[in-house]
């Protein structure tokens, strides 16, 4: 063998060492590369499915409609049709799995003012009030129906 390549012994040893390093690298790479690595690109393809398995917190408008169809029908006919139920009532995934009164927010006037308090940065088309000049109480629902704003209670 040595005669075949006609190598001096010190070069032959380095040659063997180099082959050993490459072989060790290939073996390590073979064992350590995750199965889905390179499925879509230079990353672990299974990460996509893992990220998709997380639990949601917001249930979505459709889940609310299943039980609260009457309120939903009212909502989509009036100015607030673009609002989601969970905009004002907070996350509802827990409530949709276990419908109770104490695991969903009731919503309050603070939520109304989050959108409707006058602010010079808000677009002009949006209806705004200066709350302290408009009304001194804390029950917007005395005069307005949140699910159908154009109606009078």
């Amino acid at each position: 063998m040595r005669r075949l390549f006609n190598m001096p012994p010190q070069v032959f040893r380095i040659f063997l060492l180099a082959i050993g390093i490459v072989a060790a690298y290939s073996v390590a790479r073979y064992f350590l590369t995750p199965p889905s690595f390179g499925e879509y690109g230079w990353y672990r393809g299974a990460a996509l499915a893992e990220l998709a398995t997380r639990d949601r917190v917001y249930a979505g408008k459709k889940a609310c409609e299943e039980c609260h169809g009457d309120e939903y029908e009212k909502l989509v006919k009036h100015e607030h049709k673009s609002l989601a139920c969970e905009s004002c009532h907070g996350p509802g995934e827990v409530h949709s799995g276990d419908p109770r009164k104490d695991n969903i927010e009731k919503s309050s006037f603070a939520v109304c003012l989050r959108c409707h308090e006058a602010n010079p940065s808000r677009p002009k088309w949006h209806k705004q009030i200066v709350a302290k000049n408009h009304y001194t109480g804390s029950k917007c629902t005395e005069c307005h129906v949140p699910h159908s704003p154009s109606e009078v209670p």
Binding site: R44, A46, A52, V57, S82, A84, S87
Partner: protein, 269 residues
């Protein structure tokens, strides 16, 4: 003819042949075992990422700065308390120029206290000195050439085939290169997981046919979400492109963001 083959050499040759035959299946079995120890089991399938191209668009004309989106994002994705946001809303105030200054406009003031979740303090300048003021929701720009993905040393940040830019939390080493690389400041190092986190377009929602949480709760449809590969009959995304002149953030960087904005000023970065 003299027989030179010894019993010992024949046995050695047979042994080597059997070992060679067994080597491949043994290595394969060992590989499976090693990888099961190293990586968690695969999650359930049923969603094909190559069949979708998700995209978000922002109509800043419609944003009223209520901060519902930033709040919903925090709750939906369990984003840690404090200055960590996957999406947030900035308030821009451009003042009128000082008389005689010869300038077309005054200063540009930008703020986003707690991402806009708790509302905004009164404008730092009187109302009659404001030339323009508006809100700009910010999120991952879903760049076509993502600087954050290019710098990741371990292949934890990646451009998924469905248009999202994601982080593999089990691969991220928390080096923070991607956080520095993102020109839009859309990433942060989570103090809880010690890995880089960012907007995933609510990957766990969109893969189940729901909208991202921010889009779900937006009361004015300032955020528009859709699938470019499966457009709906009255697709809001196509309507947005048709009805608006659109722009992207920092186009000079060549990142080619796929999140398009309508109704923003040149001062928006």
């Amino acid at each position: 003819m003299k027989n030179n083959v010894s019993r010992r050499s024949v046995l050695a040759k047979i042994g080597a042949a059997v070992a060679g035959l067994l080597a491949t299946p043994v290595a394969k079995a060992a590989k499976t075992v090693t990888q099961k120890v190293l990586v968690a089991a695969d999650a359930p399938k049923g969603y094909d990422p190559t069949q979708h191209k998700w995209v978000m668009a922002i109509d800043a004309n419609r944003c009223i700065g209520c901060g519902f989106c930033a709040e919903a994002c925090k709750k939906e994705n369990h984003v840690p308390e404090g200055p960590y946001f996957r999406t947030w809303v900035e308030r821009y105030i451009i003042t009128k120029p000082k008389p005689g200054s010869g300038a077309a406009r005054g200063e540009t003031l930008v703020d986003s206290p707690n991402g806009g979740i708790n509302g905004y303090p009164e404008a730092p300048v009187p109302k009659d000195e404001i030339q323009h003021s508006f809100f700009v929701p910010k999120l991952c720009n879903l760049c076509h050439h993502s600087p954050c993905v290019q710098v990741c040393p371990v292949g934890a940040s990646f451009d998924a085939p469905d248009g999202t830019v994601l982080v593999d939390p089990s691969y991220c080493i928390g080096c923070g290169f991607c956080i520095q690389a993102c020109p839009y400041g859309c990433r942060f190092l989570s103090p809880v997981t010690k890995t880089a986190e960012k907007c995933t377009l609510c990957y766990h929602r969109i893969t189940r046919g729901l909208k991202p949480a921010c889009v779900e709760v937006c009361p004015t449809q300032a955020r528009i979400f859709g699938d470019l590969k499966n457009p709906a009959p009255d697709d809001p995304i196509q309507q947005f492109y048709q009805n608006n002149l659109v722009t992207a953030l920092k186009p000079h960087l060549g990142t080619e963001p796929r999140v398009f904005y309508a109704g923003i000023d040149k001062e928006v970065r």
